[in-house]
Amino acid sequence: MADQIDWIALAVFLFFFILVTVMGFFAARWKAGPVNEHLDEWGLGGRQFGTWITWFLVGGDFYTAYTVIAVPALVYAVGAYGFFALPYTIIVYPFVFAVMPILWKVAHANGHVTAADVVLGAHGSRGLELAVAITGMIATMPYIALQLIGMGVVIKAMGLTGELPIVAAFIILALYTYSSGLRAPALIAFVKDIMIYIVVLVAVVVVPARLGGYGAVFAAAGEAFAAKGGATGLTLKPAQMLPYATLALGSALAAFMYPHTLTGIFASKSADTIRKNAVLLPAYTLLLGLIALLGYMAYAANIKVTSNNDVVPTLFKALFPSWFAGFSFSAIAIGALVPAAVMSIGAANLFTRNVWKSYVNPDISHAGEASVAKVASLVVKVGALAFILFLPTQYALDLQLLGGLWILQTLPALVFGLFTRWFRAEGLLLGWAAGILWGSWTAWSNGLKPLASITLGGANYVFYVGLGALILNVVVAAVATVIVARISPRRAVAAS
């Protein structure tokens, strides 16, 4: 039955997909600048996005299609624990408000395009610059791959099989990103976000009404978890509380270290744009909380799935008419295009500025930077596509998990330098390496689970490995800074 092509849904889906494709190509002319002459134009949309564009763009690439699929899937599978995405996407904003305007000012004053540019400017260390750049590129790749998985889930739900539809969608995406740069996802984000808002508002009103209200939804989920047993339920088990809180905090600190979120920050018009967005972006978090509840609605609707990721599409197909199911699926698929485009642009900017310009061609012109970045964005996307086509899906999930832990280790190098010059580059580099090595090793030896455990005074504490690695990172950086300062009291002059 799932293999039957749903023509109405497919037609609606194609209509919206073609609409955004046309928009993607025309975006080059929107708020037009010389897209091919400067990386600021192609890679940051001309550094001119005001409050609303930034709101749509950051909302569009932070709350990804994969979120819409994976968060309800996790909530469906384990219950309350899957909700850590909610506190995570709330506490991220006080951090954004306090830190990101300062980062923007530094980047704006010095013409920085990437996190690694800022790190080089602050610490004058090529090693630290490369460490931050490579971490960003590697952490982004599996994230793009996950967007493809999200798109694949809804395409499959419409009855299309095989990999051709995803390949086609991705080639189109790659082409208009190549020609329009950041303007394409910024423009498409308007459509995507409005569509997602419509879908979720309809779902949270219509679905409980058809299933007997939220009380019935929670009751159905509670019964299912009681029957299932184990570490599931409508509230957390005592042993889940610390993992829940540390996952939320660690993820919140990591969220704006990624190239795609930082690209949204650097592309803003002013520091105030970012502050206003810290106030306004939580609207998406409300949406996310409601999306997460789809996992419980699936129990009330008696949905049975073989793969948890199919929960949302199966629920939509069961409860919505075909045309609205098609609308919902296109919202999710377009929701995959926006972050995938911004991520590839963020990674391409890193490659251009911090690998190509730093090591291959230091005298590159502005136009040269733009053309290197355009090609790099293609390579990044083809790489992510190959990843999904030729390797098991699980690899992308595992790498994405490790990516979060890795990107978090760039926080001291990037953020501490905005507030203090006390830390030495050598110390920060050593701390980064210690955090990445310990974190990866711990996650690996726990069967790629994001949790580590420590025994203190006879009690066993389980926490998010990324946060543990960050603490180790900071401690190592501080100790090494003290030692380096003893050996050579005068620091190398920062190159800027």
């Binding site: 506190p87 709330i90 506490i91 409980p208 957390l236 809180a245 939320a248 105030d272 609207a283 409300l286």
Partner: protein, 59 residues
Amino acid sequence: MWILLLLPYIGLLWVPFYNFEEPALFGFPFFYWYQLAWVPISSLLIWLVYRSRTPDAAP
């Protein structure tokens, strides 16, 4: 005023404070509506801090 920014961290990271089902609101167990309520509260707190700070000098 900046101290207000710490409140969401305290309210949400101290899980034992909200890890129960009662009292429910509109069918939502406490665990859920409490956390959802922090979304507008956090927005409001950030906005209060935003209002209280001295604006950036005009560029």
